[in-house]
């Protein structure tokens, strides 16, 4: 069992997402940086899809009531067991009574905590990912307790080298369905500009600071995906993230690869990014 001493902000349970309900308007959700999340799971010997705790900005403070092993991955938040600083991206032993807290991070946004065996939670529509109004119980709340599943007795993945998403400013993108409606000038601006993350970013989407002059009208509402880059009539660029709505009416000009979605999720206010176009899959006979 874990006692939540301080929930922190934006602390939630996340797995790889809620599949099979997008036709009812339910976003897929899931961990923002799935590379870091699966790494945290691998370190403690969990299946990569096991539910983890995700947090951002204000870290939580937790007291473990059992002996177990945990791992932390994602940002440069430095974990502390009782008063001792310990390492991220590494298997950590916890004794009953230990208090886990964190020292402020200089880079990255989302941090992941995995526990050997996983958390004992009730799935909502097949997933343990928090989403407001649908799965309100899947967030950390002050003074609550979290039940744990049986920890693993041995670990296969003791040596994993983390590949950080934090420093990569180049984001691989495909052309989106409406990319070809952009003028040549807009296309080259999109691919040559160094963009930066604006103050408006959350689990639903990230708005970029720089704008692209735009006369393109809205489209008839159609499906969108996490990683879709929309261009609004006023020229704003919005990168849709894991909790984004399932349909939208703004032209979909780019589509981030899975790796790029993980990368951009860790960008903070003022961090810069560039889009690097990779060829779209083609309908060719191979």
């Amino acid at each position: 069992m874990i006692k939540v001493l301080q929930a922190g902000t934006m602390s939630s349970f996340q797995d790889l997402g809620r599949f099979g309900y997008r036709h009812l308007g339910v976003p897929v959700s899931g961990a923002m940086d799935q590379q870091a999340m699966t790494l945290a799971n691998a370190l403690v010997g969990n299946n990569e899809a096991e539910t983890v705790i995700e947090f951002a900005l204000m870290p939580p403070k937790l007291r473990f009531e059992v002996d177990t092993t945990i791992a932390i991955a994602g940002t440069s938040f430095q974990p502390k067991i009782n008063d001792n600083l310990v390492k991220s991206n590494k298997l950590l032993s916890i004794a009953a009574g230990d208090i886990l807290s964190f020292k402020a991070a200089s880079s990255g946004v989302y941090t992941y905590l995995s526990v050997s065996g996983g958390f004992k939670l009730d799935k909502v529509l097949g997933s343990c990912s928090y989403y407001p109004n649908i799965a309100d119980d899947l967030q950390l709340k002050n003074e609550t307790t979290i039940q744990l599943k049986q920890p693993h007795s041995h670990f296969l993945n003791a040596r994993i080298r983390p590949q950080s998403n934090i420093d990569n400013a180049f984001l691989e993108v495909y052309k989106g369905p409406e990319f070809n409606l952009l003028s040549d000038k807009q296309q080259s601006l999109l691919l040559d500009t160094e963009f930066s993350i604006s103050k408006t970013f959350n689990r639903m989407g990230i708005q970029l600071e720089e704008q692209i002059e735009n006369e393109l009208a809205s489209i008839l509402t159609s499906g969108v995906l996490p990683g879709t880059v929309q261009l609004t009539p006023s020229g704003k660029l919005i990168v849709l993230m894991r909790d984004a709505q399932t349909t939208g009416g703004y032209p979909r000009i780019l589509q981030l690869t899975e790796g790029s979605i993980n990368s951009i999720s860790q960008k903070k206010f003022k961090d810069s990014i560039r889009f690097s176009l990779i060829p779209n899959p083609e309908f060719k006979n191979i």
Binding site: V124, L125, L225, Q245, F283
Partner: protein, 244 residues
């Protein structure tokens, strides 16, 4: 052969976007539902997800599509095999709506803007039978086709930060019901006590694409009575099964 010349485009490396001509019509809705049905029954349910919209289907695979050519060929074959004897079974749901002032907070403004009496607005809103084109935006938010043109009114220039669950609203050429509390820019003309999304049900949203909706004006006392019956789990929506 399928009825339309569809466009197939790759969408990322896990998705295929299938598009009909960019318009809202019952012919496209019917053809799209038909194709969607074929695709769903061809694939094992777990392997794909489909986001449908007015004139599009976004087919999402769980991992990277290895051979886009063969996937497109397969989808086209399914479309062309469509037989003309497809019978769509749909349900016409009667949705109680209280248009009284307490709920229809923008009804007076909207009426004034449209130069119609409040009674006329209520009548024109509750008379048609609306087609459910698809569900999107929020869990259980129905995109409906068929709003009377006299009721079209541009969205508010500044969206409301909080629109109450059940609000029935008009935005541009569309009408809809907010299934949960949410920010929103549409004009609120009433409220329905019905629950649109319930995660404990096997099918969390009772309506599906292709169904029909009819609004029935009710008084505030009827509204409260329905709320009471919903809380006791004793309320059933009025529905009619229709075979086209």
């Amino acid at each position: 052969m399928g009825k339309f010349n569809l466009t197939f485009s790759p969408y990322g490396d896990r998705g295929i976007l299938i598009e009909w001509p960019a318009e809202i019509s019952d012919t496209i809705l019917h053809d799209r539902l038909f194709f969607e049905n074929c695709i769903q029954s061809y694939y094992i349910k777990q392997k794909i997800e489909i986001i449908s919209a007015y004139n599009s289907l976004l087919v999402i695979y769980k991992s990277t599509i290895n051979n886009l050519y063969s996937v497109k060929k397969q989808l086209l074959a399914l479309y062309d095999e469509q037989s003309s004897d497809f019978i769509q079974t749909k349900i016409r749901w009667t949705i109680p709506v209280c248009y009284e002032e307490e709920f229809g907070t923008d009804l007076a403004d909207l009426s004034a803007n449209l130069k119609l009496s409040k009674q006329a607005v209520i009548h024109k809103h509750s008379k048609p039978i609306y087609a459910v084109h698809f569900i999107g935006f929020l869990p259980g938010f129905l995109y409906l086709g068929g709003l009377n043109e006299e009721l079209h009114l541009a969205r508010k220039s500044t969206p409301s930060l909080s629109v109450r669950k059940g609000s029935v609203a008009i935005g541009g050429s569309q009408t809809g019901i907010y299934p949960i509390n949410s920010p929103g820019g549409w004009h609120i003309i009433g409220n329905s006590p019905v629950n649109w999304f319930n995660v404990t049900n096997e099918n969390p949203c009772f309506a599906s694409s292709g169904d029909e909706i009819k609004f029935q004006p009710i008084t505030k006392s009827a509204y409260n009575e329905i709320l009471e019956r919903i809380s006791l789990n004793e309320y059933q929506l009025e529905k009619e099964i229709i075979n086209d």
